[in-house]
C-alpha cells in the first residue's frame, strides 16, 4: 500500500473519512452488543429492521441537515428549522382537516401550501441576514420563537388530528420495499448536490462562507446567495414537517421538530463542515445525521432508561467531537507513522 496514493490515503483525505469512522464505531458497538441491530426481514414485501428504522426515523433530521449544511457553509446558522417544521405541519394538517376519510382541500394543494409557507419562512430568515445584516443566530432566533406561535395561530392552539389515509403514505408508505421518506431525502439530496456541484452556486457558497468581502469584490452577489440558501433551508424543514405530521397523523405546534435544530447542527459538524463556513460536504452531513439517529436507535434498543439517554448521547457526541480536534488528529497521524504504515 502506498502511503500517498493508495486507496486508504485517498479516503483519508476526503471529507467523509471521519464521519465514516464515527459511524463505523457505532455500528461496531452494535455488532458486539446487539447483533440484532443488523437483522433485516422482509414482511409483506417491505424491508424491516433497525437499519431501515434508522433511515426512516432519521429522514427529517437528514433533510434538516442538508439545508443546515448550506446555511453553515455561508458562515451562518439556522435555529428556526424546528419552528418551520411546526409551521409546515400545522399548515398541511389544517388544510386537510379532521374529517374521516376525506380532505378539506386537495392534498397536493395542502402539501404545496405547507412547502410554500416553509420557503417563505426561510426567505424571511434570508432577508434578515442578507438585507438587514442581522447576525444569523439572532435573526433565526426570532423565527425560532415566533414560528411556534405562528403554527399555533394556524392550528388555533389545538393539536389537530387527521384521518385522511392517502396523506399517511408520505411518512409511513413503502416504495420498492423501502420507506417512502427515504425517497424524499434522496430527491432533496440529489437536487442539493446537483445545484451545488453542477452549477456555480456551490463555489459561490464556499467563497462567501470563507471571505464575504473578497467574494463581493469578485462580483459575487453575496446577499442573494444567502437569501436563496436560507429559503432552501426553510424548504428542507418544510419537507421534514410533512413527514413528521404524516407519521404522527397530527400536528402539534409545540412539539413538532422540537430541538431538531441542535441535532441538525451536530450532524453538519460531524459531517466535517466547519461552523466558520467555507468548504462543505452534503454527504458528510447525511452520514452525520445517520450517526446521530443510529446512536438514538441503539440506545433505545439496548433498553437504556429514558432518563439516561441524554447522558449517553452526550458521551458519544463528546467522543466524536474529540476525534475531530486537530490535536487528536495529529496524534493519530503520528501514531500511524510510528507503527510504520508501509510507504
Amino acid at each position: 500500500m502506498n502511503d500517498n496514493t493508495g486507496w486508504w490515503a485517498r479516503l483519508r483525505r476526503t471529507g467523509i473519512f471521519w464521519p465514516l469512522v464515527a459511524l463505523s464505531l457505532v455500528f461496531l458497538f452494535n455488532l458486539i452488543f446487539s447483533p440484532q441491530f443488523f437483522r433485516l426481514e422482509i414482511k409483506d414485501g417491505h424491508l424491516f429492521g433497525s437499519l431501515v428504522d434508522v433511515l426512516n426515523r432519521g429522514s427529517p433530521l437528514m433533510l434538516v441537515a442538508i439545508g443546515m449544511t448550506a446555511v453553515i457553509a455561508t458562515a451562518g446558522v439556522d435555529l428556526s428549522v424546528g419552528a418551520v417544521i411546526a409551521i409546515s405541519a400545522a399548515t398541511v394538517t389544517v388544510l386537510i382537516g379532521s374529517v374521516t376519510g376525506e380532505s378539506q382541500t386537495p392534498m397536493w394543494i395542502a402539501i404545496l401550501a405547507a412547502l410554500g409557507a416553509s420557503l417563505l419562512a426561510g426567505a424571511w430568515n434570508g432577508l434578515l441576514v442578507s438585507r438587514a445584516r442581522i447576525q444569523p443566530m439572532v435573526a433565526t432566533l426570532v423565527l425560532m420563537v415566533a414560528g411556534r406561535g405562528i403554527a399555533q395561530l394556524i392550528t388555533n392552539g389545538q393539536i389537530i388530528t387527521i384521518y385522511y389515509e392517502p396523506f399517511f403514505f408520505i411518512g409511513g408508505g413503502y416504495l420498492l420495499g423501502l420507506p417512502f421518506p427515504v425517497f424524499i431525502v434522496a430527491g432533496v439530496f440529489a437536487f442539493a448536490w446537483f445545484m451545488t456541484r453542477r452549477t456555480a452556486i456551490g463555489l459561490f457558497i464556499e467563497s462567501v462562507g470563507t471571505n464575504a468581502s473578497s467574494s463581493f469584490h469578485s462580483g459575487i452577489n453575496e446577499k442573494n446567495i444567502k437569501l436563496v440558501i436560507y429559503a432552501f433551508c426553510g424548504l428542507c424543514a418544510g419537507f421534514a414537517g410533512l413527514i413528521i405530521s404524516s407519521n404522527l397523523k397530527s400536528a402539534d405546534a409545540n412539539n413538532a421538530g422540537l430541538q431538531i435544530e441542535l441535532d441538525g447542527i451536530l450532524a453538519v459538524v460531524i459531517g466535517g463542515t466547519l461552523m466558520s463556513g467555507g468548504r462543505f460536504s452534503l454527504a458528510g452531513s447525511i452520514l452525520g445525521a445517520l450517526l446521530v439517529q443510529s446512536v438514538s436507535t441503539t440506545i433505545y434498543s439496548l433498553g437504556v432508561p429514558p432518563e439516561v439517554v441524554q447522558v449517553v448521547k452526550a458521551v458519544v457526541v463528546l467522543t466524536v467531537v474529540l476525534l475531530y480536534s486537530d490535536v487528536v488528529k495529529n496524534g493519530l497521524d503520528k501514531l500511524s507513522q510510528r507503527q510504520g504504515v508501509p510507504s
Binding site: T199, A200, F204, S207, S213, H217, G219, I220, N221
Partner: protein, 524 residues
C-alpha cells in the same frame, strides 16, 4: 547625547514569519517633547509601538526607560511602568460613566466598596485640567468622539504616565477639536511627559512635533528636528526611492499618447462621494498606464472603490467604453470590462480555504452567473494557463490559496482578473508586501497589458514604482485630485511637491541634515 533622554530604544529587531518588520531600529524620546513617528503603511510604526507597549516582544535590542532596562510583558505591565497608549479607535466602555472609564480598575475604595464621591471628584479634576467640561456621571457613549478621546487621554494620564503614545488620535476629530487636543499636548509636554505622536497628516506634525523620526520598510531612515526638515523632504524620506536596485523593465514602457479622436475607455466626470472624495475627472485611454500617487488616506483607494462600484458615488458619472451606468455594483463593473485588485489583499482579495483554481475562476464565474457553470476541466485549463503565464509558484491548481506566499497570492488575484479579459484594470497597491523580484514581474506585467491595449490604473505609495510604470500620474491629497502630471513635468520632485502641497523649492534641502541619521540597516 542629551541627558534628558526619557526613553531609549536601541537596535530593535522584530521578525514575523516571512517579514522583517523591524531591523535595527533606534528611537529616542526626551522628556518634555512631542516626537512624531512617521512612515507609510508597513513601515514598522505600529510594530515599534507594539514592542514598546508589550503587545509584541522584540527579538533583539534594548529598551531603556529613565536609564534602566525594561521589557514590557503585556500592555498592562507597560502601563504600570508608565507607558500609556491612546489608540486610534477609542476603546472605552461606552455604557459606563466617564468617571468609571477613567478610573477603571483603580477605583478609589472605602470600606471595601467603591467610593463614588472620590471617584467622580478625581475624574472631574483630571478633565478640568484638560479643559473639558462634562458630567462625569453620564455614560461615555453620550459624548462625541472628541470628548471620548479626551477621556481616553485622562485615563492614560491618571496612570502616572511618563510616556504617552497617541496613535492617530486626530483621524476622527474636526479641526477645532484637533486644535484643542494640541493645546492639551503642549501642556502635557511642559509637565515633562514624553509624547509619541503618530499621524498621517503632515500639517499636524508640523503644528506640534519637536522632532520627527521616519521609518521605511522596517528600517530607520533618521531622526530630524521638525523645524529643520522641510515638508517636501519629509515626504521624500517617507516614500522615497527604494534602496534595492530593481530589474530594468526592458524597454516595455513605450511612449504613449492617445491617437487623435481616440475616445477614453474609462471616463469619470465629477465623480465623488460626500465626505470621502471630492468630485474629480478622470480620463483613461486604452493602452495607457495611469498612475495614482498620494499619501495614505489621500483618497486613492476611495477613488478606486468608486470606479469599480464597491461604493456608490453620490455625484457625477462614470462611463466605460462610452456607456454610463448609475451605481453599478462590482458584478456590473466586471461585466462592463473592469477588473480591480483591492488594496487589502488579505481581507478583500484572497479566499483562503479555496484552491488556486477556484480563486482564479471566481470573478469569471461570477460574471457568467449562477447557472452558466464553467466545466471543471475548463477551469483547470484556465488555472494552468495563468499559473504558467504569471509564473505562480504552487504545486498545482488544487493547492489551497492560504498555503501560498503573499506574492503568489497577489499573482493569483491578478490572474483572477486577467481571466475575465478586462478592458480596464485597476490595481491598488499591487506590489505591497511583496519581494523585489515579484514586484518587478508585476510591474512588467502591467506594462505588457497596456501594450496589448488595456487601460490600467496603477495606485501605489511607492513613488519610483509609479514613475517606472505610468505614462501619466494623478496626484491625490486630502481626498482631492490636486494635480495631473505627464511627460517632462512628471518626475519625483514634482510629484512630491504636489503630494506635500507646497511649492517649496529645493534650496532649503541642505538645511535638513539628519541629526543622527543612520544608513538603513547598517550597524552602529
Amino acid at each position: 547625547m542629551q541627558t534628558n533622554e526619557l526613553l531609549v530604544m536601541q537596535g530593535i529587531h522584530k521578525t514575523f514569519p516571512g517579514v522583517h518588520a523591524l531591523a535595527a531600529v533606534d528611537f529616542t524620546l526626551r522628556a518634555g517633547e512631542i516626537h512624531a513617528l512617521m512612515g507609510e503603511n508597513g513601515a514598522g510604526k505600529s510594530t515599534l509601538i507594539k514592542v514598546l507597549t508589550g503587545v509584541e516582544h522584540h527579538d533583539a535590542g534594548h529598551i531603556l526607560l529613565n536609564g534602566s532596562e525594561i521589557n514590557a510583558k503585556s500592555p498592562h505591565h507597560a502601563q504600570s511602568l508608565g507607558i500609556s497608549t491612546v489608540y486610534q479607535e477609542v476603546n472605552l466602555c461606552t455604557n459606563l460613566s466617564v468617571a468609571e472609564n477613567i478610573l477603571l480598575g483603580r477605583e478609589p475604595r472605602r470600606a471595601g466598596s467603591i467610593d463614588w464621591g472620590a471617584m467622580n471628584a478625581r475624574a472631574r479634576e483630571l478633565l478640568t485640567w484638560l479643559d473639558v467640561d462634562v458630567d462625569v456621571r453620564r455614560s461615555v457613549g453620550e459624548y462625541p468622539v472628541a470628548v471620548q478621546q479626551m477621556v481616553a487621554i485622562s485615563r492614560a494620564l491618571d496612570i502616572d504616565a511618563k510616556v504617552l503614545i497617541l496613535d492617530e488620535p486626530t483621524s476622527s476629530l474636526t479641526t477645532l477639536e484637533t486644535e484643542k487636543l494640541f493645546a492639551v499636548l503642549r501642556r502635557l509636554k511642559e509637565q515633562g511627559i514624553g509624547i509619541i505622536f503618530i499621524t498621517h497628516f503632515l500639517n499636524q506634525v508640523y503644528a506640534v512635533a519637536d522632532r520627527i523620526t521616519v521609518l521605511r520598510n522596517g528600517k530607520l531612515v533618521g531622526t530630524y528636528d521638525a523645524k529643520a526638515l522641510p515638508r517636501y523632504q519629509l515626504v521624500e524620506l517617507m516614500i522615497g526611492r527604494e534602496l534595492e536596485e530593481l530589474e530594468d523593465l526592458g524597454g516595455l514602457k513605450k511612449h504613449f499618447e492617445p491617437a487623435p479622436g481616440q475616445a477614453p475607455v474609462l471616463e469619470a466626470k465629477n465623480l465623488g462621494q460626500v465626505g470621502t472624495l471630492e468630485p474629480l475627472n478622470i480620463k483613461l485611454y486604452a493602452g495607457e498606464v495611469l498612475g495614482m500617487a498620494g499619501l495614505l488616506g489621500s483618497g486613492r483607494t476611495e477613488t478606486a472603490n468608486l470606479l469599480f462600484g464597491v461604493d456608490d458615488a453620490d455625484s457625477g458619472t462614470l462611463a466605460v467604453g462610452g456607456k454610463v451606468e448609475p451605481n453599478p455594483g462590482p458584478l456590473a463593473s466586471i461585466q462592463r470590462g473592469l477588473g480591480y485588485c483591492p488594496e487589502d489583499r488579505k481581507a478583500d482579495g484572497v479566499v483562503g480555504a479555496l484552491t488556486v483554481r477556484e480563486n482564479i475562476v471566481l470573478a469569471l464565474q461570477a460574471s457568467r452567473g449562477w447557472f452558466n457553470y464553467l466545466d471543471p476541466r475548463k477551469q483547470t485549463e484556465i488555472a494552468n494557463k495563468m499559473i504558467q503565464m504569471l509564473q505562480i509558484s504552487t504545486p498545482g491548481p488544487e493547492q489551497l490559496m492560504k498555503n501560498l506566499s503573499g506574492g503568489n497570492q497577489q499573482k493569483v488575484i491578478l490572474a483572477r482578473w486577467l481571466a475575465t479579459e478586462p478592458d480596464v484594470l485597476i490595481l491598488d497597491e499591487p506590489t505591497r508586501g511583496i519581494d523585489v523580484g515579484t514586484k518587478a514581474e508585476i510591474q512588467k506585467l502591467v506594462l505588457s497589458l497596456a501594450n496589448e491595449g488595456k487601460g490600467c490604473i496603477f495606485i501605489s505609495s511607492e513613488l519610483d514604482e509609479v514613475l517606472r510604470t505610468s505614462h501619466r500620474v494623478m496626484i491625490m491629497r486630502d481626498r482631492k485630485l490636486v494635480a495631473e502630471l505627464q511627460g517632462e513635468d512628471m518626475n519625483e520632485q514634482s510629484i512630491m511637491e504636489a503630494i506635500a502641497g507646497t511649492g517649496v523649492s529645493t534650496e532649503d534641502t541642505a538645511a535638513a541634515a539628519p541629526q543622527h541619521a543612520v544608513a538603513a540597516g547598517s550597524a552602529r
